[in-house]
């Protein structure tokens, strides 16, 4: 007979604090009370994506698929065809695994599904290079009709989740693993296709999304010490990007830096550069992962290592201004 040893449950990583995934999970519970068609799909990582909150509150609308993301993604398309509003949840890297299912069975089929990706970019931290996804924004942005969002703090996360549920079309949205700084108060508003200017500045515009918004604000402080006036723009809507706001900033500042916890190819930086090139061209420096996979480490230490921290953004601003 096996002796039962009484132990406490092990502490789980990153669940405490004000993380985007927790804000996302709570927003889903709130939405469930408002609309009966909302259902949540999980591939055995509800505790990691924040939808454990939904599972516990609304178990009859929580659907488990096991570790099988391709099937789950296409199943969401089928559920949407019957009038439900599916929310597919997994890590960003596994959304990449199922990108072809999102393309055919959701976007091409014009199904309204919210794909919510936790654990994006270096924010994954110690799990290392295999799990750190820097390609998801690029891949999903290339799919016709797909809206792509990356909110910056828990307040904006809640608003973006609600906007995505209202939106008539498929949405890919990054959440986040780590506790993040609160940037907005309850007066904050969110609209798909709109960015917000957070600080004023006349020398350069720093455009950021997700965890990089806080770092861009810190970079603006560093630049101020060097006499450079940087304005910070939060751009949670990557597809469609806010063309009007970018054109306005291009009229008012001579150069740009983009910052994202993602590859510099195909994500926010590309969206901003495409918009500027079409409207009012300006020099742009891109902060992000440059032709590199990630590695194990804590998120802040990795941000410094790969120069996507405040100092990296400030250095990029100086490069842009010297061009």
């Amino acid at each position: 007979m096996v002796e039962t040893i009484e132990t406490e449950a092990p502490a789980l990583i990153g669940k405490s604090g004000d993380s985007m995934r927790e804000a996302f999970g709570h927003a889903l519970v709130e939405l469930a009370g408002e609309r009966e068609d909302l259902v949540v799909l999980d591939a055995d990582i509800a505790g990691g994506t924040g939808v454990h909150n939904f599972r516990d509150a609304v178990p009859e609308r929580f659907f488990q698929f096991g570790i099988a993301e391709q099937n789950m993604m296409a199943v969401a398309g089928g559920m949407a065809s019957m009038g439900l509003m599916p929310v597919v949840t997994t890590f960003a890297v596994f959304c990449l695994r199922a990108v072809e299912q999102a393309r055919l069975s959701i976007a091409y089929s014009r199904r309204k599904v919210l794909i919510a990706a936790s654990h994006p970019g270096l924010d994954v931290g110690p799990d290392g290079g295999s799990a750190q996804c820097f390609e998801d924004l690029a891949a999903y942005r290339a799919i016709p009709g797909m809206t792509v969002l990356s909110p910056a703090d828990p307040v904006e996360m809640r608003l973006a989740t609600r906007a995505a549920a209202r939106h008539d079309g498929p949405v890919y949205m990054r959440t986040g693993r780590s506790p993040v700084r609160r940037l907005f108060d309850d007066s904050h508003s969110f609209e798909i296709g709109r960015g917000t200017q957070l600080t004023s500045g006349s020398d350069i515009t720093l455009v950021a999304c997700g965890v990089e918004v806080g770092r861009a604000l810190d970079a603006a402080e560093l630049l101020k010490q060097d006499g450079i006036s940087a304005r910070v723009v939060n751009m949670p809507s990557i597809e469609p990007v806010d063309h009007y706001l970018l054109a306005t900033c291009a009229q008012e500042t001579p150069a740009f830096v983009t910052a994202e916890d993602h590859s510099v190819r195909g994500g926010l930086g590309s969206a901003v550069a495409e918009s500027l090139a079409a409207n009012l061209p300006r020099p742009v420096e891109f902060v992000g992962m440059s032709d590199s996979f990630g590695t194990s480490g804590e998120p802040d230490e990795l941000a410094e290592h790969f120069a996507i921290d405040a100092r990296g953004i400030a250095a990029a601003a100086k490069r842009a201004l010297s061009r």
Partner: protein
């Protein structure tokens, strides 16, 4: 189950003529796997979807052709049952046609799902079945899969999840013609023991001759009794069924460009009246 065997045979023959003419005019397409599942489609339309097309927005019977490359057969059967015109079915693969090279649900809602990337239509069908279960709607979801399609890992992800969710309203029909794009299944990546595989995944598994309408009556009757298990029907078929020189040959999987002579020979084999043969070759759909 009202259609008589003679009527369904005639319907199937007309659908075979139409799909081959459509592939001829498209100058590309997949005749082998279209012909092999034609009798399955005709049986379903004659017995289940007649009068009420599947995939109505309000629910009810749902259908997906997961082996989307066989859509010439689906369009032809849809035309025989009045969902599109024969002239539309003949514009297969043409610019601006609703009859796309693989089914597109935005253009033709009755097709149920946009398919053409193997494995996905099956998962979409699981999503429909799960939603019907959740919404307490009656009716069955029927999905036709190819045998080569079963090599996609997503199919077995789906098979596991459908059994886990006890989707008794889901019927997967495998068009088991034993051939895939380049060669026999057994030479490419063997599927056997296939019935055992489905059973071990928790599916009620039935086998039938996919060209025998009386046998299909019995097998579908059993599949359409509700249980706590999803049902798999292994429908043993012949690739190219109905056209001798295409039967059981990987050469006719496609995508192929049929010559006028090949279309003529096919139509002759399908007992097509001489005058009608010329209509098909010229691209005008015979009436009646």
């Amino acid at each position: 189950m009202s259609a008589t065997t003679t009527e369904t045979h005639e319907l199937a023959t007309r659908a075979r003529r139409l799909q081959l003419a459509a592939i001829y005019h498209a100058k590309s397409g997949h005749p082998g796997g279209s012909l092999s599942c034609t009798d399955l489609l005709v049986w379903l339309w004659a017995n289940v979807y007649q009068g009420v097309a599947p995939n109505d927005a309000e629910g009810g019977e749902q259908f997906i052709l997961s082996k989307g490359h066989a859509c010439p057969a689906l369009y032809a059967v849809g035309a025989e049952f009045g969902l599109i015109t024969r002239a539309e079915a003949l514009r297969l693969r043409k610019l601006g046609s609703p009859c796309q090279g693989h089914p597109h649900v935005v253009d033709l809602p009755w097709t149920g799902a946009s398919t053409g990337s193997l494995g996905q239509g099956f998962s979409v069908g699981i999503g429909k079945a799960l939603a019907m279960h959740h919404l307490e709607r009656s009716g069955f979801v029927t999905v036709i899969l190819g045998d080569g399609e079963l090599q996609e890992g997503e199919v077995w992800e789906g098979a596991m999840s459908a059994a886990h969710h006890k989707l008794g309203n889901l019927i997967a029909v495998v068009d088991y013609n034993k051939l895939q794009s380049d060669d026999w299944n057994s030479s490419i990546c063997g599927l056997e023991p296939l019935a055992d595989k489905w059973r071990s995944f928790g599916w009620r598994t039935l086998e039938v001759d996919g060209h025998d309408y009386d046998a299909l009556d019995k097998t579908f009757a059993e599949a359409r009794t509700m249980s706590e298990q999803p049902t798999c029907i292994l429908a043993h078929t012949h690739k190219g069924q109905g056209v001798g020189f295409m039967e059981d040959s990987p050469l006719w999987h496609g995508s192929v460009c049929l010559t006028e002579e090949q279309l003529r020979d096919s139509l002759v084999e399908l007992d097509t009246p001489e005058a009608e043969i010329n209509d098909w070759i010229e691209g005008s759909a015979p009436r009646g």
